[in-house]
């Protein structure tokens, strides 16, 4: 399956056996997306929550 990165519009390859909640990464810009839904039409992604680099120290 293929989806489009909302950050940079590169194509993202999503495994055929992906499940909702799985994290996929854009190979172009590194943005992580969460698989939000899978239908016969295709797959929808939403940006995954990023872990902040500032650990509060």
């Amino acid at each position: 399956m293929e989806a489009v990165c909302s950050e940079c519009e590169a194509k993202i390859s999503v495994p055929d056996d992906a499940i909702v909640g799985e994290i996929v990464e854009c190979a172009e810009c590194g943005t992580e997306h969460e698989v939000a839904g899978i239908t016969e039409v295709g797959v929808t992604l939403k940006k995954a929550e990023a872990v902040k680099e500032d650990w509060g120290e």
């Binding site: 940079c8 519009e9 810009c29 590194g30 992580e32 990023a50």
Partner: protein, 351 residues
């Protein structure tokens, strides 16, 4: 193929690339300094790869060379002495000096300190940046390869000037350049002496760099607005590589997608351009360290929070994409070969 001015760093890179090119035979390489010496005396990395000896360029320029194409890596002011007679022979030429880059004869006294002796030839040499003018290059027999800082800057800026949605202030393009020591050429001086050069971040040309002329000339083809570029060049502590940090000013807030689209529109399918703006890893933006030895130009960007500025970053190997690699790519196109032949090797890492 033949190489005039084969003993400098650019000449050495041309010879290195030609020796491994699947369709090219290197017939001659000239050097007045190393005449009758083996090529590997000037370029010890090529020991065992060729038994060719340097010839004197004056003997080549006065006869019709039995080659398809001649590269000139002679210094500025020298190429223009040797190439006019070669042009008469009809041989294809790729010149890597600045002697035929600028199209306005009046620019030569201003930027290079001499009056051009053959202004009638200037328009016949196409300044070749295949990612931007491949079609034009394919139809010519005379080409120039841009300066290393110019090609980095032009590749980074041209797509954004072409974009209809981005309103770049073409009259205020600010370029900070960090350049490795090989950019100074192979002839030593006090400034390049190890004790003086090692560890520097030396602003050797904070204003008025010569490459300003070709940058403004070429970028003017991508906008109807007047282009003004402001360059500051620094020598830094590396042997190869250039990082161009380009400040572009815009009136409105810009979304990352607009910039991605502009670069994709210009460079999709252009094999030597890599877009680098990554959220992961150590190298999130272009870095010369990751293009060394290759013909890649890595291009990335970041946006000023709140708008007003786009920072474009371009990294190239100054001797490859900035000189010999771009010239070889130009040769491939001029001879109808695959554009990437002889240029496919990946960058070295780590270096």
């Amino acid at each position: 193929m033949g190489v005039l001015g084969g003993s400098g760093y650019v000449g050495g890179e041309l010879i290195r690339l030609l020796l491994s090119h699947p369709e090219a035979d290197l017939v001659f390489a000239s050097s007045s300094r190393f005449k009758d010496e083996y090529v590997f005396r000037a370029h010890p990395n090529l020991r065992g790869l060729t038994q060719l000896k340097f010839t004197d360029e004056s003997s080549i320029a006065s006869s019709t060379p039995d080659v398809d194409l001649v590269f000139s890596a002679l210094p500025h002011g020298e190429s223009v002495k040797h190439l006019p007679s070669l042009v008469q022979t009809g041989v294809k030429i790729v010149d890597l000096s600045a002697d035929f880059r600028l199209k306005d004869p009046a620019a030569y006294p201003k930027w290079y300190g001499y009056t051009h002796p053959h202004p009638e030839l200037l328009e016949r040499f196409v300044l070749s940046i295949p990612e931007l003018n491949r079609e034009e290059v394919g139809g010519v027999s005379l080409a120039s390869s841009p300066g290393c800082m110019a090609i980095a800057t032009i590749l980074g800026v041209a797509p954004l000037l072409l974009s209809k949605s981005l309103k770049i202030d073409a009259g205020r393009i600010v370029v900070d350049l960090k350049v490795g020591s090989s950019g100074s050429g192979g002839r030593p001086s006090l400034a390049t002496h190890f004790s003086e050069r090692f560890g520097v971040v030396r602003a050797y040309k904070p204003v008025g760099h010569r490459h300003t002329a070709e940058i403004e000339q070429e970028l003017s083809k991508f906008t109807n607005d007047g282009v003004k570029a402001y360059l500051s060049a620094h020598s830094v502590n590396m042997v190869r590589g250039i990082l161009a940090t380009i400040h572009l000013f815009v009136g409105d807030a810009v979304e990352p997608l607009e910039v991605w689209r502009a670069y994709r529109s210009a460079y999709t399918g252009k094999r030597f351009i890599r877009l680098v703006r990554d959220r992961k890893g150590v190298f999130r933006y272009p870095d010369p360290k990751l293009v060394i030895g290759s013909n890649y130009a890595d291009i990335g960007f970041e946006l000023e929070p709140g708008g007003g500025r786009i920072v474009v970053l371009v990294a190239i190997d100054n001797l490859v994409k900035g000189a010999a690699g771009n010239a070889l790519q130009t040769m491939n196109i001029m001879l109808g070969l695959d554009e990437w032949l002889g240029l496919e090797s990946a960058p070295l890492h780590p270096v």
